[in-house]
């Protein structure tokens, strides 16, 4: 693995070396290392599609799986299907992420289709980072799709971050929750230049006591565009909260489309959306501490997306 690939791995998975525990590293469409553990098995798919199946046994406690993807080619497109089967009672940390370095003029594109089958009472923390760099004019495109099926009492916490370099992204996340299941999503997005980012969350709260809490924070700078769609369907006694908080700068465009559907009288659903520029007062406060306006802006954005 060369320096560039190592840098990408560090960006998306905080990996400095071969990770502890189970892992699967995919490089330009090919496996670059795979390791299963007694509790976590990683296998190639049998349906002919590109990607892997990950089986997490119910005995898994506090273990991690790293499945980073690295692309350093230009004019390269791939769609990868990864399916996670997490057995009842497991407790696992999954770290995915995609790093693209495209120094050509053609497009590099990665579409990761992830499906999570999370068994009764299992706990999953899923961390996903997207990063791209390049010195050519090639576009870096990522279109992740995530489907989450939470059985009774299961819990998933998802952190998804896209901070740099992705020119175009359409991110679709859908989830269905059974009774007592819980879904927490924290999304952070920064776009600049002419980038476009769209996220589309759709959550069905199907069981009594199911709960979802989705918070998206984003900064849209320069000429970039962002679109947010968030839909929560409360089909039983449940609680759902979604929040979209965007800072808009320069000539950027941000659209937020919240939707709540209550199909049960005991469904409690809340949506909050706010789009606005950085408050003048915040800039002023930091300037009275000796920061320039530009430095103040940087600190506010850094904090907001931290």
């Amino acid at each position: 693995m060369d320096q560039l690939e190592q840098m990408l791995l560090m960006q998306v998975a905080d990996l400095h070396k071969v990770p502890d525990g189970a892992y699967n590293i995919r490089k330009n469409g090919e496996a670059d290392g795979r390791k299963s553990t007694p509790h976590i098995r990683i296998k190639g798919r049998k349906d002919g599609k590109s990607g892997i199946d990950i089986f997490v046994s119910g005995e898994t406690k506090g273990e991690s799986v790293h499945i980073p993807v690295v692309i350093t080619k230009t004019d390269y497109r791939e769609t990868v299907y990864n399916d996670f089967y997490v057995e009842a009672g497991a407790d696992v940390l999954i770290i995915a992420g995609c790093g693209i370095h495209n120094c050509g003029v053609e497009t590099a594109e990665h579409s990761g289709i992830h499906t999570f089958h999370i068994g009764k009472g299992a706990k999953v923390k899923y961390v996903e980072k997207h990063y791209a760099s390049g010195d050519g004019n090639g576009e870096n495109v990522m279109n992740p799709a995530t489907a989450i099926i939470l059985e009774e009492g299961a819990r998933m916490e998802m952190e998804t971050t896209q901070i740099k370099g992705i020119d175009s992204t359409v991110r679709e996340t859908s989830a269905t929750l059974a009774a007592g299941a819980e879904l927490i999503i924290r999304e952070k997005i920064y776009t600049h230049g002419k980038q476009f980012a769209k996220t589309d969350f759709s959550v069905d709260l199907n069981g009594e006591g199911a709960g979802a809490d989705i918070v998206s924070r984003s900064v849209a700078a320069e000429n970039s565009r962002q679109e947010f769609e968030m839909r929560i369907n409360g089909n039983e006694k449940c609680h759902g909260h979604s929040e979209c908080d965007a800072i808009i700068m320069d000539d950027a465009h941000v659209t937020a489309v919240p939707a709540l559907a209550a199909n049960c009288v005991d469904a409690e659903l809340i949506h909050e959306a706010a789009i606005g520029k950085i408050a003048g007062e915040q800039l002023l406060k930091l300037m009275t501490l000796g920061l320039t306006e530009h430095e103040a802006e940087e600190q506010i954005i850094k904090g907001f997306l931290s």
Binding site: R217, D245, A279, E281, Q282, L284, K285, L286, M287, T288, L289, G290, L291, T292, E293, Q299, I300, K302, G303, F304, L305, S306
Partner: protein, 237 residues
Amino acid sequence: MLELSHVSFAASDGDAHKEILNDVSLKVNERFVAITGPNGSGKSTLAKLIAGIIQPTEGKILLDGEDITNLSVTERARRGISYAFQQPVRFKGITVKDLVSLAAGRKITVSEACTYLSEVGLCARDYIDREVNASLSGGELKRIEIATVLARGTALSVFDEPEAGIDLWSFQNLISVFEKMHERTNGSILIISHQERILNIADKIVVIANGRVEREGTREEILPNLLAGRICPAFGA
């Protein structure tokens, strides 16, 4: 030393100009100077003019002899002026430690940050990693605001009504914070306040009314009259 020389400020309201400060001249050299006066007399405007948040329509502001009238907020801050907001600003994602670090102008250790926070009566361990957002109460935000000024340790610290929006219990603590500050400061503290107990610490009191300096003098000269309501009936402890 801070000097205001014939400073006026008019706010435009449509076509009309409203004179808020009118020919104010003032020197701040003492350790603790309190500015007081009825609501709407122009006190907060004065504080904002000193910090550079607004510019005077006439007159000059000098800091240690240098004309700073046309300097920006940032430049004034770097020359040694600190300003505590009457309504502290909230930040999503910026922690108390981040803010105190930014104020100090360098990365500070947890124990340094704790020192500043305990100065203002906050148990540092509970606060250091909290975000300076709406989850903090008005009194907590106020103290953090004061801690940022302490962390800067500049020659001139301006406080705009630190007691505003603070409950009585917090207020007792706030007074002791300012008493301590008075003992320890190496520079000047300029505080806008209505509170007798804060005026009681002041070496000099300036009374502003209707946009003008109505009286100034030592605490002994000014306070008895103020309390007797001879200058303005709006006062009282």
